[in-house]
């Protein structure tokens, strides 16, 4: 017998995609959230519309950890195809909830776990004999069964259904009937468990919202003043563009007619070209894409870099290379973004780690793009202060300048920070226009193959990049007296790393922490490396891409970095981070290979 934990439970629901389970899972998750319990969900779905296995994990954590957890307490086994594997993913002492309309075949029996059955198929056939949606509704049965087993009351479920399907009473009713049937089946047959209970926390999630990164980013871009969006559909970034399209009419009313243009382009090459054309002509413009789209956009990114045109590229990374794993997650496009396009380039990258920073960074990416007149990947909040249009000269300002004996020169470093002044087409001053070109040019934007002009341009672009170090979001650093071990992470590894550090501390290893939030790197990263004997760097790619970028800036400190590399396409877990750190982690990608070769 276990003593039930309170509000600490990791449920994995195995179904087929397109079977209606998304709706059931959503209701379950929202109900737990509504009870005020800290919780998060992860969807591990295939690149497919219907009929392939999908897993949805809901994690409730009394301590508020939101990262994915690898130890599964409850498996909802509703997919025959994966069942044989799924039964082994539950921890010893855990629970398997299954549809016992037909008896469990022997090969799906396992020792050390508790089997609980709910005859979902049978029940829906009985209560919805004629409904064409019967197949989908059967998923609601496990919602009801779990609600009874772990203590979610039907009132909460009802409230969630009303929030979700407010204007469709028939839908609320048919779902409710099924959920209730699942609930009562467990109750009436005395089916119980003792591993965990949910307990409502009054106001527990007050002020918190359920959202996903793409929605938060979409809202951020709108608050950043985006006026031009060109995009091409690609998983997993399509919903970002669609969210922008959904919210823009409501948020940017203007005087009736749209004050923005959205173009679904014919390909990513066109999307990139369009936003550069629009950025050149003076709008805040952006595209969003994923790895394969970014590969296609490379040439255009280089054009925007070399001609110095503000543009925002929101990249939702997925598993690569090539088509890779379109619906899985990774941080393996870091170097592609950082050095995007041929020739010497370095780009600004903002790396949000949670929903709030998704919004803030998406919003401020436009300010940075304007300030530095360059492509910016992803987005920021921070102590930037408003800098809406950067160094843009109006006709009046050019006139003022000329009275003071100054001349407008498009690519001249007037302020020594590498950032030139620009004018925007439509400026009527006779000296405002210039000829933008992706080929070699001088400080006055004239065609030039002169080696001195060319080198000056490249050096100034680097100077601009160095200036950017001071303006991008600074890392968030946590330092403790006397601690000699550091952990660096970035992006979506944050939650799992936070949890991992607490577990390391419990095991006797105290660590300091640095959350990287942008490239180029700032001095804080260097100081952090200097202050520690060893620094574990958690990243979701095979080749330790961030480590390479850090070593490029401070090679002398590179030896202190020990890489924790997780690249199986699934969201990072604290367990894996802890495991790798205690196993001494891999020092370099080459080390990984060596280990593989030794084993092989």
């Amino acid at each position: 017998m276990e003593t039930p934990t309170i509000n600490d439970l990791n449920i994995c629901i195995a179904t087929e995609n397109g079977s209606g389970s998304a709706s059931a899972n959503n209701i379950l998750f929202k109900a737990i959230f509504k009870m005020g319990i800290p919780c998060s969900s992860k969807n591990m779905f295939p690149s497919n519309i219907q009929g392939l296995p999908t897993w949805y994990q809901i994690r409730a954590s009394a301590e508020g950890y939101l990262g994915r957890k690898d130890v599964i307490d409850v498996m909802v086994m509703f997919n025959d195809v994966t069942a044989a594997k799924d039964i082994h993913r539950v921890r010893d002492g855990g629970i398997i909830l299954y549809d016992d309309s037909t008896p469990l075949p022997p090969h799906l029996k396992r020792e050390g776990v508790q089997y609980l059955g709910v005859p979902a198929d049978k029940i829906v056939q009985k209560i919805l004999p004629t409904s064409p949606l019967r197949g989908k509704q059967k998923n609601m049965l496990y919602v009801g069964a779990l609600a009874y087993l772990f203590g979610i009351d039907m009132e909460t479920i009802k409230a969630v259904l009303e929030d979700t399907f407010g204007k469709k009473p028939a839908v609320i009713e048919s779902n409710l009937v099924c959920i209730d049937a699942g609930y009562r089946h467990m109750q009436e047959n005395g089916l119980n468990q003792d591993i965990a209970r949910f307990q409502a926390i009054p106001n527990g999630n007050k002020g918190k919202i359920i959202t996903e990164g793409n929605t938060a980013c979409a809202l951020g871009t709108i608050y950043g003043g985006v006026s031009f969006i060109a995009w091409y559909p690609i998983t997993p970034s399509s919903s970002l563009a669609e969210s922008i399209e959904y919210y823009l009419p409501r948020l940017r009313k203007g005087n009736g007619k749209p004050t923005y243009a959205i173009v679904q382009a014919e390909d990513e090459i066109a999307a990139a070209g369009m936003i550069i054309g629009a950025g050149w002509a003076g709008t805040r413009s952006m595209t969003c894409t994923s790895g394969p789209g970014l590969s296609l956009m490379n040439e255009s990114v280089g054009l925007a870099y070399f001609t110095e045109i503000p543009s925002v590229f929101l990249i939702v990374q997925r598993g690569g290379p090539s088509t890779g794993l379109p619906t899985r997650t990774q941080q393996a496009d870091l170097q592609l973004m950082y050095c995007c396009s041929h020739g010497d380039t370095r780009h600004i990258i903002l790396i949000p780690h949670d929903m709030k920073s998704c919004f803030d960074f998406a919003r401020r990416s436009f300010d940075l793009a304007e300030r530095f007149q360059t492509p910016v990947f992803v987005a920021t909040d921070l102590d930037l202060g408003m800098n809406f249009w950067g160094k843009v000269l109006t006709a009046e300002q050019i006139e003022q300048w000329e009275k003071q004996g100054k001349k407008f020169r498009r690519y001249f470093d007037a302020d020594g920070d590498g950032i030139p002044y620009r004018t925007i087409p439509g400026n009527r001053h006779p000296h405002a226009s210039y000829f933008t070109r992706g080929s070699g040019h001088d400080a006055d934007a004239r065609y030039s193959e002169d080696e001195k002009d060319y080198k000056e341009t490249l050096d100034r672009l680097r100077r601009k990049f160095e200036t950017a170090r001071k303006y991008v979001p600074k890392p968030i650093v946590e330092m403790n007296e006397g601690v000699k071990t550091g952990v660096i992470c970035f992006g979506s590894s944050y939650e799992a790393t936070r949890e991992a550090r607490n577990r390391l501390r419990a095991e006797g290893l105290k660590t300091n922490h640095l959350l990287l939030r942008a490239l180029p790197l700032s001095e804080e990263v260097k100081k952090f490396l200097e202050a520690h004997e060893v620094v574990y760097l958690v990243e979701q790619n095979r080749d330790a891409q961030m480590a390479a970028i850090i070593k490029e800036d401070w090679p002398e400190l590179g030896a202190k970095i020990v890489s924790v590399l997780i690249y199986d396409g699934l969201p990072v877990t604290a367990g894996e981070i802890v495991r790798q750190i205690f196993n001494g982690a891999q020092a370099t990608p080459r080390e990984v290979l060596r280990q593989v070769q030794v084993k092989g």
């Binding site: 929030d163 979700t164 999630n205 918190k208 919202i209 359920i210 959202t211 809202l219 709108i222 608050y223 950043g224 003043g225 006026s227 031009f228 060109a230 919210y247 948020l251 940017r252 009736g256 007619k257 749209p258 004050t259 923005y260 243009a261 173009v263 382009a265 014919e266 390909d267 090459i269 066109a270 999307a271 070209g273 369009m274 550069i276 054309g277 629009a278 950025g279 050149w280 002509a281 003076g282 709008t283 413009s285 040439e299 255009s300 280089g302 054009l303 001609t307 809406f388 925007i424 087409p425 439509g426 009527r428 006779p430 226009s433 210039y434 000829f435 933008t436 070109r437 992706g438 065609y447």
Partner: protein, 342 residues
């Protein structure tokens, strides 16, 4: 000293010139540049409202050689259509002119080009068509005719893409063909294109005197001259010149453009109605079958909205919207967040 001729905004033709050309001596592109200058001068367009766009190739260099007061953007190979689409939507008050070549438009840029026309993006788009890659020294392009011979002797055995036919098929609303050496026809066609709202495509035959001007080439100066097949003579009557053109009932055809300008087409051979799409395509096919180059205003669609209108964009150019209009109030975000808490 003779007084300089000025146009309606008091500029001389010289004011529409640009930097010195770096094309080969005798290049058709330079003749086209001169026609562009003439057209802008004649129409009295303010150069400061114009944006010049191009891709990569010999032709794409030429925007530097006209309208030095206008903003220019020489982008990457084949992507001018995309840049123009963005710039156009960002500021619909700008007057965009694009200059491209047959490689830039019909090979690497074909996809973007077709989709730009499909959207009817407002632009005057000139293809300086010589059937050959000049900057890379003489390879066949996608508009090289079947049976045409390369300078080194190789024969092209793949059919050409006919830019005018392509443009009509994909939804361009003003499609003309002309010859670099025929300023009398080309300049008014460019004036018409500038007055038109929508994708105006001008396929201009422009012999490459260095790599494609030999015996056996179907894009040599001699071959083109011998095989021109003009549908009509063209006059452009700007809307501000309230004069009666030399218009003959029955044999002439007048096309009224946006803002009231008119193109008068003096028919040469048969009845030709440029608003008839089927007739236009048939005429192109017939000319191609005979190895002729049909020139003139081949097709015109007076009814379709240009892309910015289709999107119903606000009158103020997006690029000129103030921060107050661009950033929604914070209360609306609170409202949306409240919905997420449900």
């Amino acid at each position: 000293m003779a007084e300089k001729k000025l146009n309606r905004i008091n500029l001389s033709e010289k004011d529409y010139e640009g930097a010195a050309s770096t094309m080969c001596r005798g290049c058709g592109h330079d003749a086209i540049t001169a026609s562009i200058i003439r057209a802008f001068f004649q129409s009295g367009v303010d150069p400061r409202k114009v944006v010049k766009l191009s891709g990569i190739g010999c032709s794409s260099k030429t925007p530097a050689y006209f309208l030095s007061q206008a903003f220019g953007f020489n982008g990457v190979h084949g992507r001018m259509s995309a840049l123009a689409t963005g710039a156009n939507l960002a500021n619909r008050n700008l007057i965009p002119i694009g200059v491209s070549g047959d490689g830039d438009t019909a090979a690497i840029g074909l996809g973007n080009f077709c989709h730009m026309m499909r959207r009817n993006v407002n632009i005057t788009y000139i293809v300086e068509n010589n059937g050959v890659y000049g900057l890379t020294k003489g390879q066949f392009s996608a508009t090289a005719d079947k049976g045409s011979r390369m300078k080194a002797g190789k024969i092209n055995d793949i059919p050409a893409i006919d830019v005018a036919e392509l443009a009509i098929t994909f939804g361009a609303t003003y499609v003309a063909r002309s010859f670099s050496g025929d300023r009398k026809q080309l300049a008014p066609l460019i004036q018409g294109a500038l007055a038109h709202k929508g994708s105006a495509i001008l396929d201009v035959l422009s012999p490459c005197v260095t790599f494609n001007n030999h015996e056996g080439s179907t894009k040599s100066l001699k071959y083109i001259r011998e095989n021109l097949d003009p549908i009509h003579n063209v006059d452009f009557i700007p809307q501000y010149e309230n004069i009666e053109a030399d218009y003959k009932e029955g044999t002439d055809h007048a096309v009224t453009l946006h803002e009231g300008s008119r193109i008068v087409l003096h028919k040469l051979n048969s009845d030709y109605d440029p608003t008839n799409k089927t007739q236009a395509l048939t005429a192109i096919h017939a000319a191609v079958a005979e190895g002729k180059f049909l020139t003139g205003l081949i097709y015109y669609d007076p009814n379709r909205l240009e892309f910015a209108e289709e999107l119903n964009l606000c009158e103020t150019p997006l690029a000129e919207l103030g921060q107050d209009l661009l950033q929604p109030p914070a209360e609306l975000l609170d409202e949306i967040n409240a919905e997420f808490m449900k």
